[in-house]
Amino acid sequence: MRLAAFDEMLPEVSGLRKPYSAYDRWLKEQDPARLTEKMQDAERVFRKTGITFAVYGEQEASERLIPFDIVPRIISGNEWRRLTQGIEQRVQALNAFLDDIYHRQEILRARRIPKELIARNEAFLPEMIGVRPPAGVYTHIIGVDIVRISENEFYVLEDNARTPSGVSYMLENRETMMQLFPELFQQIKVRPVENYPQLLRQSLAAVRPQSTKGAPTIAVLTPGSFNSAYFEHAFLADQMGVQLVEGQDLRVVDGHVAMRTTEGYKQIDVLYRRVDDSFLDPLTFRPDSALGVPGIMDVYRAGNITIANAPGTGIADDKAIYSYMPEIVEFYTGRKAILGNIPTWRCSEPDSLKYVLEHIDELVVKEVHGSGGYGMLVGPAATKKECEDFSKKLAARPSNYIAQPTLALSTCPILTDKGLAPRHVDLRPYVLVSDRIQIVPGGLTRVALKEGSLVVNSSQGGGTKDTWVLDD
C-alpha cells in the first residue's frame, strides 16, 4: 500500500521546508559511514542503560529495545504555538468534562452526548460520582496523540488521559542526541525538554490534598519490575527524587496511605500511579488485585491523598467518547475545537456499521477499549481473509468498534542502510495540569519503521525519534 503523504522535511511539491534548513545543511556535510556508526552507538547506549520495554506474549524477546532513529523530527516555533493552543483547549475540556460527568452531568442533560454511552461504559466509575479530587484536577498528565496530514492540517488521534507512557523515551532520546551530536545543538537552537521531571514534581506537589502539612511526600506507584513500562516508572521516580513503590509497600494507616520503610510506615500525600483503575483498590474494584492498596479509595474520598491521574479518567479518553470530542470541547470552552478530530464511524450505529462493513478494506478499525495497537485492523494493508475475519468479529459485537479513514500520516526521513527514507510518524506531546497547564516543547515522535506502514506503536515494530521544537 502506498499513500501519497506529506513529508515534513522534503515535500515533493515545495522542496525543503524551512524548519529543516539548518539541519539539512549540517547533514550534507556528514560522512554517511560516520552516521551509521552513530546509530550503532545509540543502540549500545540504550542497551547498556537497560532502556527496554517488554512485549506481551513474546517469551524470548521479554526485554526489547525500542528502535531509535537519529534523524530528528523538527517543528518550528510557530507550528508549536498553534499546536499548544489546541492542546490547552482540549485538556481544559477533558477536565471540565470529567468534573461534569461525575457531578451534575450537564452535558447529558443538554443531550450533547447520549446517556448510554456513559452509563454502560466500563471506564465510567460510579465510585467517583460526587467525589471532587484535590485541587479539582482529574487528569494531571496527558499525552495527546497528534497526526499531521499536510502543511496546516493536524488532527488528534487519541487523548491519553489515564496513564500516558513514553515520556522517558522523549527524555532519553534527547539525552542520546546531545551525546551523539553535541555540535548540532550549538548550531541549532532547540527548546529544552530536560526539565520535565522537575515540572512533573512541582505539578504533583501543587495538587496535594488540602490537609497536607509542609512539603508533600510524593511516590510513583508501579505494578512492578515485570511491567512493560517499568523502566519509565523507575526513571521518573529517580529523576523526580521520589520513592518508587509497589502495592505491597503500601497500606492504609490512620486514614492515610503509608509506605513501609526501614523505619516503619510513612505517610504519602500524592501518588502518581501507573496502575490501572481496576487494580487500584481490591476492596473497591478487582478483589484479586495484588497491585493496589486495600482501602485507598476510602482515603481518597476523605480527601487525604491525591491520586494522579484520578480514578475514572478513562471515561474521557475512551474511543467511543472520542468521536464526541468536538462537541465536548465546544460545550465546555464555548469555542470550536482548534484541533480537529479524525472523522469516526461509531459501529454501534446501524448506518455506520453498514458503511464500515462495506468499506472495511479502506478503513482503520479499532477496538473501543483497545490500546497499544493490539486488536486493530488497517484495511488497506490487510489481506482479504484478514478483512473477512475482522468483519465477522465486528458484526458480532459492533459496539466494541469504531472506524476511521486510513489517513496518509505525514512522513519524516529515517536513516536506513540505503540512506534517508521517509516513514510515517505521529506525535505525542506531554501535558501537565495543576493550577496551570504546562506543555513540554516537543514530545515523543513515534515512527513506523516498516516502509509504508502506518502503525507506529512500539509493540508493533514502531520506533522513536527525538522531537525538536525550534526556538525561533
Partner: protein, 313 residues
C-alpha cells in the same frame, strides 16, 4: 528514607553478586586440586559441592563428579538456584527493582555483567576455556564492586548493600572451612603430608588467599595458621572476623541514623565479641566443627533478624 522492599533488594542483590563470584572461586580451587591430584578428583569435587551447599541437588542430576559436570552445575545451570548464572540473574533482577537507589555506574556494571555472562554461559563450557571463563566471572564482579565503591553515597543504601555482602561472605568462608575442617585438625606430625599440603592450599585458594597467606605467615602451611587466618585475621578481607567487623560497623551506622537498636545489633555484637576475644587455640580446644556449625547458624539468624528488624517484607 528507604523502603523496606528496597533495603531487601539491595541486601539480596549484593548477596547474589558475592555468591556468583564465590561459585567461580570454588570451581577454581576444585579445578586446581583435580589437576594436581588426579586420583582423588571426585572427592575434591564432592567437597566443592558441599562448600557450595549444592551437593544434594547435584547428585539428583548427575552420577559422576567430573570437572565438566560440576563446573556446568555451579556456573551455568539455571536450574541451580545458586549457580553463577542464576545468581547474576537474581542480582540483576534485584538491581532492576531497586534501580532508583543505585548510581548509573553501578546499575550499568550489573547490567553489563549479566549481558556478558549470559552470552558466555549460554553454551556448555569447553574444559580448555574454563580458566578464562572463571577469570571473566571474577572480572565482572570486580567491575561491579569497583563501580559500587567508587560511586555510591555512604548512606543507608550503602549499609544494607554491605550487610548483604558480608553475611554472604561470612557464610561462604565458614562453609569452606567446615567442609574441610578435618584436614585442619592438629596432627601428630608437625609437617603435613603432601596430600595435606594440597588440601591446605586448596582451602586458601577457594578464598583467593593462597598468596596473601604467605605474605602474612611467611613459612609453610600450618593448619592452625590457616584457621587463624580465615577465622580471626582482622585484615584478611574474607575472614569471619573481617566480615563481622564490617557487619557491626554498618549496623551501628543504621542504628545511629535511625536512633534505634534491634535484635540484629545484639546478635552481630555477640558474634563480634566472641571473635575478637577468642584465640585459635580456644577454638580448636572447643572443637573447630562445633565452632563453625554454631557460627553458620548464628549468621543465618542475623540475616533473618536484619530482614525482620528493617521490615524487608
Amino acid at each position: 528514607m528507604l523502603l523496606g522492599r528496597t533495603a531487601n533488594g539491595l541486601y539480596w542483590m549484593n548477596r547474589y553478586i558475592e555468591r556468583a563470584e564465590n561459585m567461580a572461586r570454588l570451581v577454581d580451587a576444585g579445578l586446581r586440586m583435580a589437576l594436581t591430584r588426579t586420583q582423588n578428583a571426585s572427592e575434591e569435587w564432592n567437597s566443592v559441592l558441599l562448600s557450595a551447599g549444592s551437593d544434594a541437588a547435584f547428585t539428583q542430576k548427575y552420577s559422576d563428579y567430573t570437572a565438566a559436570n560440576v563446573a556446568d552445575f555451579l556456573l551455568r545451570d539455571t536450574g541451580n538456584p545458586s549457580s553463577t548464572m542464576t545468581s547474576i540473574e537474581t542480582a540483576r533482577n534485584n538491581a532492576r527493582m531497586v534501580r532508583t537507589a543505585l548510581t548509573r555506574e553501578t546499575w550499568e556494571s550489573i547490567n553489563e555483567a549479566w549481558m556478558s555472562l549470559k552470552r558466555m554461559l549460554a553454551k556448555p563450557i569447553d574444559e580448555r576455556d574454563l580458566p578464562s571463563v572463571l577469570d571473566a566471572i571474577k572480572r565482572e564482579t570486580a567491575l561491579i564492586r569497583g563501580a559500587f565503591y567508587g560511586t555510591m553515597l555512604r548512606n543507608e543504601i550503602f549499609d544494607f548493600s554491605q550487610l548483604g555482602t558480608y553475611v554472604e561472605r561470612a557464610d561462604n568462608t565458614a562453609r569452606i572451612l567446615d567442609v574441610k575442617y578435618y584436614v585442619l585438625l592438629p596432627s601428630i606430625s608437625w609437617v603435613g603430608s603432601t596430600l595435606d599440603n594440597y588440601q591446605w592450599e586448596s582451602i586458601l585458594r577457594s578464598v583467593s588467599a593462597h598468596r596473601s597467606y604467605r605474605w602474612v605467615y611467611e613459612a609453610d602451611y600450618k593448619p592452625s595458621n590457616i584457621a587463624d587466618y580465615l577465622i580471626l585475621n582482622v585484615r584478611m578481607p574474607r575472614s569471619l572476623t573481617f566480615c563481622y567487623r564490617f557487619l557491626t560497623e554498618h549496623l551501628k551506622f543504621l542504628g545511629d541514623d535511625y536512633g534505634e537498636r534491634h535484635a540484629c545489633h545484639v546478635t552481630a555484637g555477640k558474634t563480634q565479641a566472641m571473635l575478637s576475644a577468642g584465640s585459635i587455640k580456644d577454638i580448636f580446644d572447643a572443637g573447630l566443627h562445633e565452632f563453625l556449625a554454631n557460627f553458620i547458624r548464628d549468621n543465618i539468624r542475623l540475616g533473618d533478624e536484619i530482614a525482620q528488624d528493617y521490615r524487608f517484607y
